[in-house]
């Protein structure tokens, strides 16, 4: 990532708050979060449970709406979008990876990926995407025939097959052992490097933060600390 890229924010969030109402109780999930993510950047969102990082990721991904504040993806103001605009936004620009894979059990690995390539504007070949995550050999397997790590890599292939501008990963290694987790991180890191996809990655695991360009630490719905990694490490060197 060069200096020039850093001047073009892909995301910019201004004073974002999110309040859930649950009966008479108000839950303040976000209490004024502002940040910018840049082209090709890999960011890690770190923090304890309930610190607001997932809520923030969901708002960036167009899965949820902010209560106040603005979130922009390039020129698109997500906080002003309708439901169908957000659907279009997710379809065309965003790739998601979740802790629990969320593959379609009735579709094979290849079909899970082509689910997305069928509706994307300029997708890569599903086989190519699976090759990027090292699963070319197991394309015709159903999710139930794959290990957890393999399933997560199919999920990553599915997320990147549309060549998204952003990849949002919520605890992608949360359900995996260290060896498989490293495998998944390597896939994410390779995509970030080779395709220049802006990547935001939530994790509980403090060891993972060192693979990122920047680290945002969430606490009580705010960003408590922003840190730039002067030297990044390779996923293989992450200690679990």
């Amino acid at each position: 990532m060069n200096k020039q890229d850093m001047t073009k924010p892909v995301f910019s969030a201004q004073d974002v708050t999110k309040v859930y109402r649950s009966g008479d109780v108000e839950v303040h999930a976000l209490r004024g979060v502002s940040l910018e993510l840049f082209e090709g950047e890999m960011a890690v969102l770190l923090g304890p449970s309930g610190s607001g990082k997932s809520t923030f990721l969901n708002i960036m991904g167009g899965l949820d709406q902010a209560t106040r504040g603005t979130v922009r993806f390039r020129d698109l103001e997500l906080t002003a979008c309708s439901e169908s605009q957000l659907t279009r936004y997710r379809r065309n620009h965003v790739g998601f990876v979740f802790q629990f894979y969320n593959l379609i059990p009735s579709l094979t690995a290849w079909e899970n990926v082509s689910l997305v390539t069928e509706i994307a504007r300029d997708p890569m070949d599903p086989g190519e995407a699976l090759e990027l995550v090292g699963l070319k050999e197991r394309m015709q397997h159903f999710p139930a025939q794959l290990s957890g790590g393999e399933q997560q890599r199919v999920a990553i292939a599915r997320a990147i097959a549309k060549k998204p501008e952003v990849l949002l990963c919520d605890e992608p290694t949360g359900a995996l052992d260290s060896k498989t987790g490293i495998f998944v991180l390597e896939a994410l890191s390779r995509i970030n490097r080779e395709l220049g996809t802006t990547t935001a990655l939530i994790t509980h695991n403090a060891g993972i933060q060192r693979i990122a360009h920047r680290v945002f630490s969430f606490l009580d719905g705010r960003i408590a600390e922003t840190r730039v990694n002067e030297t990044r490490i390779e996923p293989a060197d992450v200690t679990w």
């Binding site: 997932s54 969901n58 991904g61 899965l63 949820d64 169908s84 659907t87 279009r88 936004y89 997710r90 379809r91 065309n92 965003v94 998601f96 979740f98 629990f100 969320n102 593959l103 379609i104 059990p105 009735s106 579709l107 094979t108 079909e111 899970n112 082509s114 689910l115 997305v116 069928e118 509706i119 015709q140 159903f142 999710p143 139930a144 025939q145 599915r158």
Partner: protein, 793 residues
Amino acid sequence: MSPGSFLGTLDRKLLRDLARIWSQSLAIALVMACGVATLIIALGAYRALEETRSAFYDRYRFAHVFASVTRAPLNLRAAIAGLDGVSGVELRIVRPAVLDMQGMAEPATGVVVSIPDVGEPAVNRLYIRSGRLPSAVRRGEVAVSESFATAHRMEPGSTFSALIDGRKQTLTVTGIVLSPEYIYALAPGDMVPDQRRFGVFFMPRTVLAGIAEMDGAFNDVALRVRRDAKPAQIIDALDDLLRPYGGRGAYERADQMSHAFLDNELVQLRASAIVVPPIFLFVSAFLVNMILSRMIALEREQIGLLKALGYGRAAIAGHYAKLVVLICLCGVMLGFAAGNWLGFGLTRLYARFFSFPFLIFPQNADLYLISAGITVAAALAGATRAIWGVVALPAAVAMRAPAPTRYRSVLAGGRLLHLLFSQLTVMALRHLFRWPARSALTTLGTSLSVALLVTALFSFDSVDFMVDTVFSRTERQHATLTFGNDRSPRALQSVEKLPGVLRAEPFRATAVKLRNKNHERRMSILGLPAQTDLQRILDLDLQPVRLPERGLLVSERVADVLKLGLGDRVEVGLLEHGGRSVFVPVTSIVQSYVGLTAVMDIGALDRLIGDGRRISGAYILADSSKLETLYRAVKQTPAIAGIALKEISRSRFRETIGENISIMMSVYVGLAAIITFGVVYNSARIQFSERAREFASLRVLGFTRAEVSAVLVIELALIVLAAQPLGWLLGYGFAWLVVEGSQSDLFRIPFIIETSTFAVASLVVLGVAAISVLFVQQRVNRLDMVRVLKTRE
């Protein structure tokens, strides 16, 4: 008192579970309610009719054996009463009448039956609704059947005029009565009772004998027999006694018109009680199985926990069984309410066709118990597998999440598949084939609603066919005139001279007993001119038949019951005219839907009877603009004993059928809608529950709500569409069973199902299915992506 003090914790969970799945439970309860209600309606009405009939018969001493005769002396009484087994004898005069009713241009017809001058008849007693029986010393007094009196707003004191045996009488109503002999009173030539145009009248014997010139004679016998008597022997002996006097052959209750129609109705009610409720029971058992399996799958971990906490297998099995029983109770209560309400409606409907002095509703406690019992039993049977799965699961295994659903590689990999279908369609197809038994049962359940509709609606096609095609092709006359006695063919010229008559064709009818080996039936042989045109005879392909000079034409029904084939010689026993027996060859088997039909050339019939050329009446074609004049003339013509107005019969029939159509349509559309909704709504809900996570994933991936709903819709649409041909097939089969089951000597229903019936059945089911899916689609739209994806499967 807190709820905990009388409800166990598990029971509280149960109530909350039920509240949570209330809409699915209600859909199932409604299906159960239909089963209970249809059972109560059909069996309840069956019992009410049966009990009412038997009470009326017993209390009013309805006869067991009937006979009519041309004219026999009253001194036969001792001989008849002396027959072994006879316990009551009534020798009566029965005469036809043509009536001139106020406000009615067309003539009404009726029969006048004699009653003893003093005291009550020994058999066929009358129930007096109002007024009194007519007096023998005052001329012109008459008691009138209730339905006719009601149709003409007659009260004791009303007067009207009638033509009896060629004599015009002014009659005064003294009482309104009901007779067990005329519960179903059908005018000759009619297909449904027309209370306005047909009445039964009762006159003291002496008075009627005076009018009919029957002093010291009778022409009708009604007998009651002892319980241990053998009616067949009494009939033979009675025939022997009456033969010299023109006896037309005695017969049992089974051949008595009113009784036979009631029997027919009872058979149909019982058949519907056997056929319809099991459909609902089957569907509800399947639905219970479906939702309980899903519920148990979702509560797997809770079940493991309960086991770990020390709850026994019986307690857990009982917990889910109670849920099923609670749903059943809702269904049963709804069914009781609907069954009572609709049962009352049905009985009222019957009251329009059958004249009973009272209605007896037997205690139906057992019926309620039985219907509740089998509903619960069927539902528990449906639940067994799901519950057994819970019981058998070890606690430690139960607490682990189930292994992910394995899909077989049905449709996997093939290039063609991906060329033809989107991944969304592939998802729907694979899910469909993943649970083949469930998909098949869902299809079957939906197809049953199609079948139910086809079975209910086809009868109108058959009736329509009967009325439109056959009657307009066979009975082309406006009216049938019947003479009091057979007359010379010159009488036809008098008929032709009646005002407005364009054409007249003669007929002759005589009562016979047809016998082939040990099969025999009483009926009439109809003699028609060879070139008959007003009353045409159609072959089995519905083409007009030219009557051959010799030989007998019999309807399919007659050929069936007497086991007759073409060319067979059938024994014709003449019941009038001396009672000879002759063998006649069967030259043709013809189509006829009403009654038992045997036809021959009128000349051949004359030769068979051997009393020269005679005619019994005439078919006429009239100028429609001169009908009123014609009617007036008929009312004044002494020789005419009866007139059957075909046009009016037809339109009256159509009107009645039309009313029935709208009632039946709404009832059966309602029933089919409930089945369809129950099946489709529950499968959609379960599919949604099983696939919420997939749907949420699709939404996250950028699929629109409509695209995600499509996955749900495609699978259900395939099921519902596959159910259509299956439903048509099942409906066709059920309809065939109905036709076969309802064949009787009174009616033969043609088996006709129009394409439009299949279409209507399918449209109703498709419409309800679409609405059911819409309900569930709302849930796809409200899907909370974040929450679904954050939870472990």
